[in-house]
Subunit: 323 residues, 2 copies
């Protein structure tokens, strides 16, 4: 099957057809309408075989995840996603692969009402790069740079599953059910916290999505906001599956430095704690206070049971760290 | 050098800083302002080593070309480029490579006043995917679908250089100077016909950029417009370098089926020929009439010296054609 047939069959006309799309797949570029009172939001994330997914990853998972990771960036800003372009590079025009990939892609695109408006299909080593577009009201953007001394540090959901999924795969660990299925599902089909992000625009002073582990992602907030922080390691919301599958110390390492949890890490001033608790609970979003923003030259201090937590691992997932 | 340092050093704060960019590189996503009376335009193109460029391609050329090919899509629509996201995948964090790549990228970004607002740096086989954003007035969009029976078919500039560059490289042909330098320059540092595209919004009924050869790209116009066409092969504007480096028949094949000329192929009604000639000449853009739109079920007929031109090659560059 040729490139144009592949695009025609598996991309054109599928998924949500939004009214703000003037021209979708099929011309030199796509045309869309941004609401006049909103800013355009653009996120880009690439997934490469052997770096972001294993060679035996299911195409459906890759299709899901390539959009999910960009949606997670939108969630961290409180932005509303609308349109995506997919740059797909494939070793060969494997129709069954493309079918499964697009099934995963359109499943999540449908759920979040995102229209695929264009892209590119190319021959080469397997990778997919998604550029997600959408909008946001200028006065309610959640940035990394708004954290203030005294703000409380929260994280949604529970953490560690993806790091354990990767580690068990690399080391050939045998995980027990039902935990095995649970962590694999979270690794292969992560959710994006879009509704929580929308709500947090009214409560949080800063936010980021946890893609590289708590230590590294919180550090981005500290650098952008020019503040320090203290985190209580004992309070980290480790997932039940992770707690049941390894010892506590290992679980903490997964949460602190493991990637791809795609939960939201955010800061909330004292006077907004009530708003947060009321609304997050009403939405069914779990959240946990894990520490507080402090003075201190962008420095992150970890404590546990009143003691400083010694921590000399590499700080989070680092592209090229082997180089 | 780590990913964040690479981005910081070679991407952040370089190139044009546009007033319509509210937030550039550095947060979860970029924020920009689309003019309220314009549509958003989005193009995406990927370049992969061994598919789109040779392993010995200069990083500066790759940096130039990854943006140029997207700018060419904008030219074909008459759109105005504004912001780009760069998804760069590299085998290792080679600082010298990144420096040269970004030098090429920002040179062309400066020229066309495009701000790099975000992206992603990833480890893996060398490739770069660019998502270019910009805007256009809704009433003046150039599409592939507007060609009418009787319209004249034109192409800007001259054709065939990139196809000869690729072929000579693959076959180890020895080209003579000054032609060798000329075709290599056109292959490695293609221009985008943005000013011509702007002008053509007022003259042309359809347009596309020539990325896959005249035959394949014109076919896209015929399919979208539901018309046929006749092209006179003798009128094709073959570049001097190509004509001087190979026989006429081979040169015609390069132009008809060779990729990456990045000239504009467009259709103009009889009554707009005067406007075209006046304005293109004033802008210093060369253009050639190569045929006419006809009735006939999306069929393209090639003629030469009054005879039907027999032509049984594969129609243009086709990703995955080997599969």
């Amino acid at each position: 099957m040729k490139e144009f047939e592949l695009i025609q069959t598996y991309f054109s006309g599928r998924g949500p057809q939004r009214k703000d799309v003037v021209l979708g797949v099929g011309d030199d570029a796509a045309l869309t309408r941004v609401p006049t009172d909103k800013l355009l939001v653009v996120a880009t994330d690439t997934m490469v075989e052997n770096t972001h997914f294993f060679p035996d990853a299911s195409p459906r998972s890759i299709g899901h995840k390539c959009l999910a990771v960009n949606l997670s960036d939108f969630a961290a800003m409180g932005a509303e996603p609308a349109w995506a372009s997919i740059a797909l590079t494939l070793p060969s025009a494997d129709e069954a692969w493309v079918k499964e990939f697009t099934d995963g892609l359109f499943e999540i695109a449908d759920y979040y009402h995102v229209q695929i408006v264009g892209g590119d299909t190319t021959q080469g080593p397997l990778s997919v790069s998604v550029s997600l577009k959408g909008f946001i009201s200028e006065e309610k953007v959640l940035l990394r740079s708004g954290a203030k001394v005294g703000d409380w540090i929260y994280v949604t959901g529970s953490l560690g599953d993806s790091a354990l999924a990767v580690d068990s795969k690399l080391k050939g660990l045998e995980l027990q059910e039902p935990h095995k299925s649970s962590i694999e599902e979270k690794f292969n089909f992560p959710a994006a916290r879009l509704a929580a992000g929308q709500m947090l625009r009214h409560a949080a002073t800063s936010a980021i999505d946890v893609s590289d582990g708590i230590v590294q992602d919180l550090q981005h907030i500290l650098n952008a906001s020019n503040v320090g922080a203290e985190i209580d390691v004992a309070k980290l919301p480790i997932s039940v599956a992770v707690e049941s599958s390894c010892d506590r110390l290992q679980a903490e390492r997964y949460v602190l430095t493991g990637g791809e949890d795609y939960e939201l890490l955010f800061t909330v001033p004292e006077e907004k704690k009530g708003y947060l608790e009321q609304n997050a609970t009403a939405m069914g979003v779990n959240f946990t206070c894990i520490g507080q923003i402090k003075n201190g030259e962008n420095k992150l201090v970890l404590v546990k049971e009143g003691e400083v937590y010694s921590f000399d691992d590499a700080p989070g997932y680092q592209h090229f760290s082997a180089a």
